[in-house]
Amino acid sequence: MVRSYKRHKMVVCVTAAAILFLGFSQKSWGASQDKWKEVVEAGKKEGKVVVSIPASSELRKQLEEVFEQRFPGINLELFPGTASKMLRRISDEFQAGVRYFDIHIGGAGSMITGFVGGNIVDPIEPNLVLPEVKEPKNWWGGHMAIDKEKRFTYTFSAFLVSNFWHNTKSASAEELRSYDDLLNPKWKGKIGWYDPRQPGAGAQAWEFLWKHKGEDYLKRLVTQDLQLSRNPRVLAESLAREKLAVTIGINYYGFRSFVEAGMPLKALPIFKEGTYGTAGSGILAIIKNHPHPNATKVFVNWLLSKEGQEVWTKEVSQPSRRWDVDGTRWSRSRQIMRQRRTRRRKARVASYPIEAEY
């Protein structure tokens, strides 16, 4: 009887707790939903949101199509281009008091030196509305930012870098298992590098090798007569035509059309010394005093939602940090994705070096 009473008491308590919890969470969910509806309606009144994105016409098309279907009445004006061009324009507009752009999405270099350094960005957090976006446990590693204050940027993409590619006709993967193998005289004049003197994947590779192999290694590597270019297509063509045997600093996206056409170009397996992580172009910042505050909130929350991140991952081939977005469905760099998933299982979050870049 006592047992039955106790059991009954426990059931009542659990039920009451569950009702209370559900009540609270429904209330909070309901509040969030109400707020979200208000934001969307206000966004529709503003009519548009202007976003600078990395140079990709497919990304532009897909973002525009899916977003405008989801939020009719808000025109998504996308401006693809290089980060340096966008930084110049947005900062000059800012200084002149002209407010045209709302959001910039791009890589870490110009984001830190230009947008955050130039003090032309607003904090991210007040713009996060949807619970699925605000909840840190939905994101691998929780919320991440690359600025020192962790307020002005949002890093939504993360992956291990695989930007050492080879032409399988002119260099076999077995010959290139270690970074030291690049010093083989056989590769003199045959190594192309996405110019490391400018921010980007080429510079990141240079920095990684400088940290892990040292300056002497880089000095010896330079004597290999490196072919530098700021045009990924030029390097990709040179690799395809066997003018180069290896390229550094260009990822799958740069080789996509060549791989799809059946050219013998492949990413080298990760060197025995390891590789590093990056956010790629998946970093978001909101321009200070942006002209369309509500439409901006709508876009930011949508982009960081499951749907937005799926569009991003599919078109840019850079995996999302959202746990519920399976990048392997779209990314051709499956090996990298598999490694990332293994890392997820091991949950070695602290060792992930994205923030270590700064």
Partner: protein, 574 residues
């Protein structure tokens, strides 16, 4: 008598004051829109702070610019390449313009149009086409020639000094000379040639001793245009020169501009060289043209009879056809082929052909808007531009306005800023001027930018043709009781019409093809076709960029056909 004369003098004085006011206003507007960007460019060459930071001024940019490694060889390469191709192109251009405009060569109209077409073709895909033919390793022409028993090494190498010169000549350098010189040649009274021939001179002798000296203003404009444009050209040099270590001035500037973050101070400092070169060229022009008389169209009747080529006719015709085919058909074939290839230039991949490039470009939702924007910007800048440039040219040539020399100089100034940097200089100008702020982000700002950019060529081409027109025609009209406007409309405009159409077409083409001037001013809503092409090229989608290139060629080709028919209908007829 005195009573009637005094009011006339007052009216004349009022008219004079009115026109003086208008001319001063024109001078003020031109000075503002061309000097402010130049001033900002020079000022920013001393500005050292990064975007968003407080202003700091210093000489570091200049020191970096002129002490960077390889700058001397870049300067040497720039001038030697420019002089080599301009020398060849000028000779060919003069001969071709004379043949097409002044002789009885068959099919002169279609042939001239073919040279126009070569000017419309986008440089990048055309250069890739020439690489496919003349690459020392896999170039098709080299491969064919190596099959001959007496050739053991590839005879051509596109990646060389002469390879770059060839690529320029075959893309637009010859075409633009024909485009600029043919209208001026057409305005020449055949009586001058006939007098020379009657005096015993040959056709070539007449060309050298009579025609070229008379055509000197137009030839000088074409030469200065060519030289300045040669100094700032970078697309071909980037593809053909940089891989073999041939750096030029403009590729150095481009390196600085596309760096992240962009290094504008040294880029601006390097660009100051353009201003110096322009000043030297203008002084040269002043010395050569001076106060000489270049009138070829007078009130004494006008003979447009063409020179007979005689027994040379067929031979010359075949040569001109061959040249026209090389500069148009060959690159057009490669341009068209490129749009149907999975990978531009890779014939050895399995199943190299595809329709996907066309499908994806034509299904892009922004294509229609971009087409409309292009049409609006190009038509608007061509129409307003022609009106403005003809006004400027009129004041310079036909009035005694005290500051007409200053106006003449100012009309050249936009060329003192290389195209790569004109865009940023105009962005600063528009952002810093209240009057332009309401227009910011609209197509009108793109129109204004294009009108400023094309001012030198537009004004100078109209000016060079206006110099050929004698005063008698206008005086006869005014004596007959016509007003100034009536004289302008019924006498000057018909005489100038071929030149006005050419200028309108040049501005139109420039607006359709331009990237560097408008790239920082356009928005997602005002994106033009060329900016869409840039978008594809930036992400490495050359095949889709080539589709855009073909669309642009079709666009400007259609405009050129309309312009030619319009020019023929309204302008002077033989």
């Amino acid at each position: 008598m005195d009573r009637t004369a005094a009011p006339e003098r007052v009216i004349f004085q009022e008219k004079l004051n009115g026109s003086l006011l208008l001319m001063s206003l024109l001078l003020g507007i031109v000075a503002f829109v061309v000097l402010v960007p130049l001033f900002l460019m020079i000022l920013n060459s001393f500005q050292l702070s990064k975007p968003g930071e407080p202003m700091i001024y210093g000489l570091q940019g200049w020191r970096e610019a002129f002490s960077s490694p390889g700058i001397l060889s870049a300067i040497h390469n720039t001038f030697s390449l420019a002089l080599a191709r301009q020398f060849i192109a000028l000779i060919l251009g003069i001969v071709l313009a004379w043949l097409l405009a002044r002789t009885d060569i068959p099919l002169s109209g279609p042939l001239e149009f073919m040279f126009w077409l070569s000017f419309f073709l986008p440089a990048l895909p055309v250069t890739i086409g020439w690489i496919l033919l003349l690459d020392p390793k896999f170039g098709l022409v080299n491969q064919w020639l190596l099959k001959l028993p007496f050739i053991s090494e590839p005879p051509f190498n596109i990646y060389s000094f002469w390879g770059i010169v060839w690529a320029h000549l075959a893309s637009s350098t010859i075409g633009v000379k024909v485009l600029l010189l043919a209208p001026a040649f057409r305005n020449m009274d055949a009586a001058l040639e006939e007098s020379s021939r009657v005096s015993g001179a040959s056709a070539v002798g007449t060309l050298i001793r009579i025609i070229i000296p008379v055509m000197m203003p137009a030839i000088l404009v074409a030469t200065i245009l060519g030289l300045i444009r040669s100094l700032e050209a970078f697309e071909i040099e980037l593809v053909l020169g940089v891989p073999v270590g041939i750096q030029v001035f403009s590729t150095k500037i481009l390196d600085l501009v596309i760096a992240e973050p962009s290094e504008y101070p040294p880029a601006m400092a390097l660009s100051s060289t353009f201003l110096a070169v322009l000043l030297v060229l203008l002084c040269f022009q002043r010395v050569v043209v001076g106060r000489k008389e270049f009138t070829t169209v007078t009130g004494r009747g006008f003979n447009l009879r063409r020179t007979a080529l005689g027994r040379w006719k067929n031979f010359v015709f075949v040569l001109v056809v061959l040249l026209a085919l090389i500069v148009t058909v060959v690159p057009t074939i490669f341009l068209a082929l490129g749009t149907f290839m999975k990978l531009f230039g890779f014939f050895d991949v399995s199943d190299p052909w595809t329709l996907n490039n066309w499908r994806q470009v034509l299904q892009d939702p922004v294509i229609v808007r971009s087409l409309w924007n292009t049409l609006v910007v190009a038509l608007g800048s061509a129409m307003v531009g022609v009106f403005l440039y003809s006004l400027i040219a009129y004041v310079i040539v036909k009035t005694s306005f005290t500051f007409r020399g200053v106006l003449d100089f100012l009309s050249w100034v936009p060329w003192s800023i290389p195209g790569i940097l004109l865009g940023i200089a105009l962005l600063w100008t528009f952002l810093g001027t209240r009057i332009f702020i309401p227009l910011y982000g609209s197509v009108y700002i793109l129109m204004i930018a294009m009108i400023i950019k094309s001012m030198p060529i537009g004004t100078q081409v109209i000016k060079s043709v206006m110099l050929q027109l004698g005063r008698e025609l206008e005086e006869a009209s005014i004596v007959s009781g016509a007003s100034w406007f009536s004289t302008y409309r019924r006498i000057l405009v018909p005489l100038l019409f071929p030149a006005l159409v050419t200028v309108g077409l040049l501005v139109f083409i420039s607006a359709v093809r331009d990237i560097s001037t408008v790239v920082l001013l356009a928005t997602g809503e005002t994106r033009t076709l060329s900016l869409l092409m840039l978008e594809f090229a930036t992400e490495g989608q050359f095949e889709k960029a080539t589709v855009m290139g073909v669309l642009i060629v079709v666009f400007v080709g259609t405009a050129a056909l309309i312009a030619r028919s319009l020019g023929g209908r309204v302008g002077m007829r033989e």
